[in-house]
Every structure is written in C-alpha cells, then in structure tokens.
Symmetry: C2
Subunit: 141 residues, 2 copies
C-alpha cells in the first residue's frame, strides 16, 4: 500500500524490541568521534551474549585508533530497515562504551561467527556495551 502523501507516525520501541531488531540484521553503522569530528562507518555486526554489539575492524582503522586512544570511549551503533516507498520501517541506536577485545577465546569465537565482508585483514574485534538503547518504528497512518 503506497501512501507517500500521508504523514506517518514515529512510535518508540522498548529496549527488548530494539535489541531484537538490531540482532535481526547483518550490518549497521558505527558512529564515533575522530579528530574531534563526527565519523560513521558501515560494518557488519552481530549481537553477542549480554546484548553486546560485536564488529571487526583493522588495527590501523580510525575506529581502532579512537577506541584505543582512551578507556571508556563512547560510540553509537545504528541499524535500520526503512522502505522509502511505503515509508515504513525502523531504526535502532545503541550508545555505550567500546573496547578492543583481548580475551583470545572470545576473539577466536567472534572471529568464527562474524566473517568480514571485504577482502581486508580484520585483525581487531571491538565490542560495544549498550548503555542507552533507543529505537523508533515508522508506521503508516
């Protein structure tokens, strides 16, 4: 049903529904501050135990540098699925501390479960612990 001339509503999602939607898609966008500027990078992800968001990157990436630069780096991770024709869908944003994973067992496990999509060496596993979880659903009138 097309309804492009009508205005749709934004409905807030609760945390459980938002995390479930985030886990249902294979990629999102990590948002961070790099050299005092806002930065964003699409990346495939998974949601692991304890609702952590897991991504892989390179040791020399901007994301790695940002997370390694200091403890308690806060990043956001966004995923969405929006149909621009029907104008329905959802968007979820988690915000929380990011850190480079160092436990060899967990690194091995996540490297097995989360395969990079691109032909670059992805030698760094970063986890994001969601402190704030927000989400909206765009619904037809």
């Amino acid at each position: 049903m097309f309804s492009t001339e009508q205005e749709h509503q934004l409905v807030e999602l609760d945390r459980a529904e938002a995390m479930s939607l985030l886990a249902s898609v294979p990629f999102g966008r990590v948002v961070f501050t790099r050299n005092a500027l806002p930065a964003i990078r699409p990346v495939n992800h998974l949601v692991g135990d304890g609702e952590i968001v897991v991504v892989r990157t390179r040791v020399d990436s901007g994301l790695s540098a940002t997370v390694r630069a200091r403890q308690n780096t806060v990043v956001a991770f966004e995923a969405d699925d929006i149909d621009p024709i029907r104008r329905v869908g959802w968007s979820v944003v988690v915000t929380g501390f990011a850190r480079v994973l160092t436990d060899p067992n967990r690194i091995e496990r996540y490297e097995r479960l989360l395969r990079p999509w691109v032909d670059r060496v992805m030698d760094t596993v970063i986890i994001i612990e969601p402190t704030l979880v927000s989400g909206v659903r765009l619904v037809a009138p």
Copy 2:
C-alpha cells in the same frame, strides 16, 4: 549471483560519483555530537544547489540544539544502499559545517521540495555544506 562466502572489494568513489549517489536516495543519517556523545538520526534529505545537503527537523530536536549551540558545527551525513545478500552496494559520507537556514525564500523553497515523512512539525531547515566527501563501493569478486 550469490557469493556470500567470497570476500568482496571496497573501491573508493570520486567526489562527483559520491555526490550523485547521495542525491539518488531519499534518506540518510545525520551524525553529530550531542552532550559530548556521538548521535545519529535517520532523516529524509535532498541535495540542493552547490551540493548542499538539506534536511528538516524540529526547533527542539537534539540536532537543532547542536547546530544552534555554536557557529561552525561540523556534522556528517551518511547514506548507503547495501544488499546484505549479494554484499554489494555503496556508502557515502559527507562531512561539513551545518547551519540553520534563515533566508525566508530558501526556507520556503526547500520546505516545498522536501516533505517530512513523519507527522511532526518540522519548523527548522538545516543545510550541510560538504567539505569532505568520501564514498566506497562494495563490489563482488
């Protein structure tokens, strides 16, 4: 052609191609810093004269507050179109100064061209002047 087990390549886009792709889609994500935290919000946009990115928001939104808080606020705007099955697509990020538009003629014009998707009063037009434009295409092997 499905090729989910093969690793794809990232190819850099030039500025003209990146801006053309950004203009070809109806929505993206504005990325900014809010209370020292990274923030991201999906929003529909258009690319206007001089390659500016135009979005609409509410006067009381976090984005408005951020842009109004000081001159020369830098934000990023990202759009992408990625097929997670075939693992092909593109992502474009523009980074530049954002400001609230005040010229009544331009406000009227952009309000006519860019209709909000949601049933909220969108009383503020924000423009982003791209300083940095980067983009990548994810291509099959």
